[in-house]
């Protein structure tokens, strides 16, 4: 068993990844609460945005243009999907609505493979200027990118909570989460609120995509599937309702995943972390407690 000192570096890497899982998980929860759709294309949209950013940077464009393009692209694509297919699928069950987003994910996945083929041995990657800066805590080296990743998770979670509680649009989203039909009869512009939720979810997928491309890998399989599993597990632990529980769950998933790395006997099974934690949480955590927490959040 590794010593405590040997575990310490993985706390940093785990928290950074956890922060991005949290950001993604919050995006999933907010959209689900507003529209009832579990967006399985979250990772694919972010992946495509990141690849577009990569191409812009490769073509000599400034990094910030690539990053902003990525975020805007993701927002527009997700909003477009929501506006185009959302109303048509609104009357269908959650299964149909979610599988439809999986369709979008697979279309984008195929498009990425076509546009950015993996032959030739070249591997795309994205780096931030903050990668090479940072500070040390004892023997621990912390990069600014890792700090930003965790910080974004915190800021997005807190900001989203405040937005849902105090803003007019947020109140409308909460109302729709409680009862969509009554909310509509009360004169809330449902389509507009849904559009805002789709756009917000898309922008978050762009932020997550570009950050994960740096911290994890600019790889379509990783971004489309592997990473989104952790975010989805965190959202599921939050019962797709509570953003604070989702946030904590995401951090724990990131932490446990990375803390298993030095334990060589089980490190090859660390990818099971989101499944195991989600299963345990769903079995152990009282549903009522999570829902009560969600109600407190608004």
């Amino acid at each position: 068993m590794p010593s405590w000192a040997e575990f310490q570096p993985y706390i940093v890497t785990g928290l950074a990844l956890g922060g991005l899982y949290a950001l993604s998980g919050v995006g999933l929860v907010v959209l689900y609460r507003a529209t009832g759709v579990l967006n399985l294309a979250f990772g694919a949209v972010g992946a495509m945005g990141a690849f577009i950013a990569y191409s812009i940077i490769q073509a000599g464009g400034p990094g910030w243009v690539g990053w902003i393009t990525c975020i805007l692209f993701c927002g527009v694509v997700t909003l477009g999907y929501g506006m185009l297919f959302g109303p048509a699928l609104a009357g269908r069950g959650p299964l149909v609505q979610s599988i439809a987003t999986l369709g979008l994910a697979l279309v984008l996945f195929g498009a990425i493979d076509l546009a950015w083929p993996t032959s030739g041995g070249q591997s795309p990657s994205i780096s931030f200027p903050t990668d090479n800066g940072g500070f040390s805590i004892g023997q621990l080296q912390v990069s600014w990118t890792q700090v930003i990743a965790l910080g974004l998770g915190v800021v997005i979670t807190v900001g989203t909570g405040a937005f849902l509680r105090y803003s007019k649009l947020g109140t409308a989203m909460r109302a729709m989460a409680n009862d969509r039909e009554i909310t509509a009869t009360l004169g809330v512009p449902v389509r507009r609120v849904e559009a805002a939720a789709w756009l917000g979810c898309g922008l978050l997928s762009g932020i997550a995509g570009i950050m994960l491309a740096d911290l994890s890998a600019l790889d379509d399989t990783t971004l489309v599937f592997t990473v989104v599993i952790s975010s989805l597990a965190a959202a599921l632990i939050g019962r797709l309702r509570s953003i604070s529980v989702t946030f904590v769950a995401a951090l724990v998933i990131g932490l446990v995943h990375d803390l298993l790395t030095p334990i060589t006997q089980i490190s090859n099974y660390q990818d099971m972390t989101p499944f195991v934690l989600a299963t345990i949480a769903l079995l152990v955590m009282p549903r009522g407690q999570v829902m009560a927490r969600a109600r407190e959040e608004g």
């Binding site: 570096p9 041995g121 790889d219 599993i229 989805l232 090859n268």
Partner: protein
């Protein structure tokens, strides 16, 4: 909507979410496996984007016995099987072999006979691969297999080739490409290339090795080589495997550096995307100087990797190179390679690199063997000619190539070591020239016991 409807909706949503996790996981693991197969298997043969610096005084007319005369005789049918699937595309290898054959055909052919090339691709499906082999022999009537490079072809078809008497010339990946009598490879494959990397860092004074590779079938076989070398030298070695695609490169880089220690070396056996992730993670965390050396098997030998990593890795990262580094090389072979690639290699998508080098080398050896056939071109005559190839100087390998009639084949067992140098991969200034892979690896020893040790040749 009443409470029970709400509850049902939410329960359904939770079920969908759980189901989605499963679906995504399945997709992910399937993709991973696919990527993992590619990773493990391609570990010997990633392309290098190196650009040859040849001056171009050698023209394609030199690749045949009758310059400018198109071969019109009865064609000699030759086949090849390459893996081509998302994430793993070796088809540049057979495409370059085909380009070489096209050059030969345009310049007199093989004793007046053109080579009719049947390159096919597969998607790591054993039944498909077995079927392709039978199709090539029974429908296309190939008399030889030259230019093959596939993740599992050697494993799947070894018995079939033996049964029909065909001897295969390949760029090998699976263990059977080296351990069976009917296949010989121009490259060394992941095990022996990893041997070369480990051997180099030990020779430079590394006192511990952290050896890491993709978690795919066959890793134990590959790791056995480096472990034998390290054990023979009394250097501790720790083996790791990683699930691919890698999702937490920072954690892996940290783990490897911790395991190797300040006097040790981290040795990677991954394809470029995964290796680059780990190396970049080390760079981001300022870990590159926390160990004495970093090393890689052949896949890291790409200018792309050298460019991506930057100058911090000059003389810090050492990569085993199974074929002649082409950067700045002006040898006759390098010039002919360039000329053929330009004139006939339009479908070689990766351009100059290890893949095309392997394809070129197989084209050279195949042509040399076919030219020696007297009488009709049959499976028996072509196989006999191939087996008779002895100490043939390809200009691409450190040693002369010998096929021979051996139970195992490791004709390429002497390699270069390269290091990044301002965006290029160049021969390492210290001990980077042609070096025999140590016979401390029992498989290498077994081969040399029957085939001897081919001397180095000048490129």
């Amino acid at each position: 909507m009443n409470r029970s409807v709400h509850w049902r909706t939410r329960t359904a949503a939770a079920a969908v979410a759980a189901l989605s996790l499963g679906v995504l996981a399945a997709c992910s693991s399937s993709s991973s496996s696919s990527a993992a197969g590619g990773t493990g298997s391609s570990a010997s043969s990633a392309p290098s984007s190196a650009s040859s610096g040849s001056a171009g005084t050698v023209s394609t007319s030199s690749c045949g016995s009758k310059p400018g005369v198109k071969a019109t005789g009865t064609p000699i049918n030759i086949g090849a099987i390459n893996t081509k699937q998302p994430g793993t595309d070796f088809s540049d290898i057979e495409n370059m072999t085909g380009a070489y054959f096209a050059c030969v055909n345009a310049n007199g052919g093989i004793n007046g006979h053109p080579i009719k090339f049947f390159p096919v691709t597969e998607q790591t499906n054993p039944s498909q691969i077995a079927s392709l082999a039978k199709q090539l022999v029974t429908s296309d009537h190939v008399v030889g297999m030259m230019g093959t490079s596939s993740i599992i072809e050697c494993s799947v078809n070894a018995a079939y080739w033996k049964s029909v008497g065909i001897y295969v010339l390949a760029a090998g990946i699976a263990p059977e490409c080296y351990s069976t009598p009917n296949t010989a490879s121009v490259n060394m494959g992941p095990r022996y290339s990893s041997d070369g990397a480990v051997q180099y860092v030990m020779a430079q004074g590394a006192n511990k090795i952290a050896f890491d590779q993709a978690n795919v079938p066959g890793t134990a076989y590959i790791a056995a080589g480096p472990n034998a070398l390290a054990k023979a030298k009394g250097v501790p070695i720790e083996d790791f495997t990683e699930n691919v695609p890698i999702t937490s490169a920072n954690a892996i880089a940290t783990k490897l550096v911790t395991a190797a220690g300040p006097g040790g070396a981290v040795v990677l056996n991954f394809t470029p995307p995964e290796a680059l992730l780990i190396l970049q993670a080390a760079q981001k965390l300022n870990l590159e100087d926390r160990v004495k050396y970093w090393a890689c098997s052949t896949p890291c030998n790409t200018d792309f990797l050298a460019t991506s990593l930057g100058p911090k890795w000059n003389n810090k990262l050492f990569v085993n190179s199974e074929l002649l580094p082409l950067d700045g090389n002006t040898s006759q072979t390098a010039q002919l390679f360039d000329a053929i690639l330009k004139q006939y290699g339009t479908n070689v998508s990766g351009g100059v690199g290890s893949f095309s080098e392997m394809g070129f080398t197989m084209g050279e050896i195949a042509t040399h063997a076919l030219e020696s056939v007297k009488g009709p071109y049959t499976i028996a005559s072509v196989s006999a000619a191939l087996k008779a190839v002895t100490n043939f100087n390809t200009g691409m390998l450190c040693q002369g190539f010998t096929y021979g009639n051996y139970p195992t084949h490791l004709p390429n067992n002497m390699d270069y070591t390269v290091t990044p140098n301002n965006g290029k991969m160049v021969i390492a200034p210290t001990g980077g020239g042609c070096t025999l892979i140590s016979a401390d690896d029992p498989q290498v020893a077994a081969y040399r016991a029957v085939a001897g040790t081919a001397p180095a040749v000048s490129s």
